[in-house]
């Protein structure tokens, strides 16, 4: 499991580890169909962190869950190292789960309250029949050390731990089977800022030492900028902008992404910026607006916008945007 060579990781930037094509997830509800994820495509390179950002209900968590088949896709494909995850049989999928893991937002509800810390972390090893009982226990000890949990917590229950430590348990559990890919679904949103910083640093360290690839879901743009190599912005089930992180922050193209970025309160004085306040709330995903889904709140709306849906197109340098004004955006 120690794949580190002199503390450095050889990132193969060319091979996508994970490729998502036209992924759709609809939910039937009493009043119609919720278009939670509505045809998104992206790929994640080996060793990369893709940040997925958006507001509540934009479909970012559903995306993460569909990738791991915690909820089944309506259509589309998810290819992991050349295999379509969505069509795997039961046994193959079980094997695949060793490779793909998830860390959840709320460490209070994602850990079984009746299981001890050691049990929780060792459960994936038990399910996948890894090693003997003693080997599994040794592995759990090692994992606990890796995520900074003191060995004396082995027999403690989750209610005896604070939020930060619980999140470390969730991380250790996700790492137990040495996965290659981890979906981090708002892993620090429920934590206080001083603990949040501890967990962010831990996730970065682990990525280096264990050669992990992350899909990092968050609503916090400063956290996303800190961690991600590339960033995808979602709005009402669609990706509206997908770009290398530094490029995105230097030159934000989509009017929604611009508004989102300008709305973040920043703990600094004298920071020059234009504040864009969007009118109204996010429309219902049951009947999303026609054409471009953002046209109802967009300050750059043109006659074509309600008529035709813009495609996600490259505006140069791998910076893609789904907007009819792509040629005039700067």
């Amino acid at each position: 499991m120690n794949q580190t060579v002199n503390g450095t990781v050889n990132r193969n930037e060319r091979d996508p580890l994970l490729e998502v094509r036209d992924l759709v997830r609809h939910f039937k509800v009493g009043t119609g169909v919720v278009h939670a994820v509505d045809g998104i495509s992206f790929s994640i390179m080996e060793g990369e962190t893709l940040g997925l950002v958006g507001e509540s209900g934009c479909g970012k968590s559903t995306t993460g869950r569909v990738l791991l088949r915690l909820t089944e896709a309506t259509s589309g494909s998810v290819t992991y190292r050349g295999k379509n995850v969505l069509t795997l049989g039961r046994a193959e999928m079980t094997a695949m789960r060793r490779e793909m893991q998830i860390i959840f937002q709320d460490p209070f509800s994602s850990i079984d309250p009746r299981r001890t810390v050691g049990d929780t972390i060792g459960k994936p090893l038990y399910i996948h029949r890894v090693g003997t009982k003693q080997e599994r226990e040794e592995r759990v000890d090692h994992l606990m050390e890796l995520v900074g949990l003191s060995p004396r917590l082995y027999n403690k229950y989750p209610h005896e731990l604070d939020g930060g430590r619980r999140q470390r348990v969730g991380i250790a559990r996700a790492l137990a089977l040495s996965p290659g890919f981890i979906v981090c679904d708002e892993p620090v949103s429920a934590l206080d800022v001083s603990i949040q910083a501890q967990i962010l640093n831990l996730l970065e360290e682990l990525q280096q030492t264990m050669k992990l690839t992350y899909l990092f879901i968050s609503h916090d743009l400063s956290v996303i900028r800190h961690l991600s190599d590339r960033i995808a912005v979602m709005y009402l089930g669609k990706i509206v902008e997908l770009s290398p992180t530094s490029d995105f922050f230097r030159n934000t193209l989509h009017p929604y992404a611009q508004a989102l970025l300008s709305a973040v309160p920043v703990a600094k004085l004298h920071r020059a910026r234009e504040r864009i306040i969007l009118a109204g709330g996010v429309p219902s995903p049951v009947n999303p607006p026609s054409g471009c889904r953002f046209h109802t709140r967009c300050r750059c709306k043109m006659p074509i916008c309600p008529e035709q849906e813009p495609e996600l197109l490259d505006a140069g340098g791998g910076h893609a945007v789904a907007c009819h004004r792509i040629h005039t955006l700067s």
């Binding site: 509540s56 800022v193 910083a197 508004a259 709305a263 309160p265 703990a267 306040i277």
Partner: protein
């Protein structure tokens, strides 16, 4: 001074022990002033706010000591009936979660009118009319007066909460994490609305939050709380650009910089102390990167310079603050 709090101490008696929630908090808020009360979970921010409104549940809570004066009157000396006339009328509160703070079985119009009728000498009709006006003030069409809270989005519910808080034209508003449950674009709308209305009604405000960004948008003074104490207080500029307390500096270093690629973050090591068993000496010393021998035993006295107060032995060591 509109509001003056001196040496407030609040504890809760529980089966696990005595929780020392607020330990000697003092601050002032002038007319039209906005104070941001910042800190992490368990720092005692909400307990401070609730004790101003005399809303601490007794038992388990005990307000041990402290003097709160508001508009020149000593609030502790007031009877329950007299306090009712102040609560919701002269001082009102905006809560974090508008879904649980609104009554789900009453229309929003009725809930606002109820507040007005309780405090102002008005007929029911007049109160209803005023409630409609308040809805328009928070940019909700008055026609939605007869709708129930579940028919509104999160941002709109919080606006209803703001309308209710402002309905009696209070002198002071206590806003307890008013935008924490909201998405960032909706938060921006609500912050702008709160700022505009605060100026229009010339209301003083105490804003409780864990988000230093929100403080920067709204407040003119900032008090940083840790383990039930205000460890530093000063103007927005003093706290944001010349913070003195190692905890305040640590908080700023924990936030990734949104304006830079590969920004560094430096966590504060360790955890918040157990409020049942606070450390001796300075309560921050077990986590402090600049901890000295004296910090383990001596509680730092407040040291004030140019209106910036800090409780840290780094500043009182030379006897400067004593």
């Amino acid at each position: 001074m509109l509001l003056s709090v001196k040496d407030l101490c609040v504890k809760y008696v529980t089966f696990e022990g005595i929780v020392h929630a607020v330990n000697g908090v003092s601050f002032d808020i002038p007319e039209r002033g906005t104070l941001g009360l910042v800190g992490e979970s368990g720092a005692g921010k909400t307990t401070t706010a609730l004790s101003l409104m005399r809303l601490i549940p007794v038992p388990p809570g005990i307000v041990e000591r402290g003097k709160i004066s508001f508009e020149g009157r000593d609030l502790d000396a007031l009877s329950g009936e007299e306090m009712k006339k102040i609560r919701g009328n002269r001082i009102s509160m905006i809560f974090q979660d508008p879904m649980t703070s609104l009554n789900p079985v009453l229309t929003v119009g009725l809930q606002i009118a109820e507040t007005i009728a309780a405090h102002q000498n008005m007929s029911e009709r007049e109160a209803m009319k005023k409630a409609r006006e308040m809805l328009e003030k928070v940019q909700i069409p008055a026609a939605r007066y007869k709708e129930y809270p579940h028919e509104f989005s999160g941002g709109m519910r919080q606006r209803v909460g703001i309308a209710m808080a402002l309905a009696c034209n209070p002198r002071m508003i206590i806003a307890d994490e008013p935008t924490t449950a909201l998405d960032v674009t909706i938060q921006a709308q609500v912050i702008e609305l709160m700022r505009d209305l605060r100026d229009e009604f010339s209301t003083a405000m105490m804003l409780i939050t864990h988000d230093l960004g929100v403080v920067g948008e709204v407040c003119d003074r900032v008090a940083v709380m840790y383990a039930g104490e205000i460890v530093e207080e000063g103007s927005l500029e003093q706290i944001f650009e010349h913070a003195r307390h190692p905890y305040t500096n640590g908080l700023f270093r924990c936030i990734p910089d949104i304006d830079e690629d590969n920004s560094r973050i430096q966590p504060i090591s360790g955890l918040m102390p157990d409020p049942c068993d606070l450390p001796a000496g300075c309560c921050f010393h077990p986590r402090c990167p600049e901890c000295m021998e004296i910090c383990r035993t001596r509680k730092p006295a407040p040291f004030t310079e140019n209106g910036q107060m800090v409780r840290c032995c780094l500043y009182t060591r030379g006897g400067a603050g004593q």
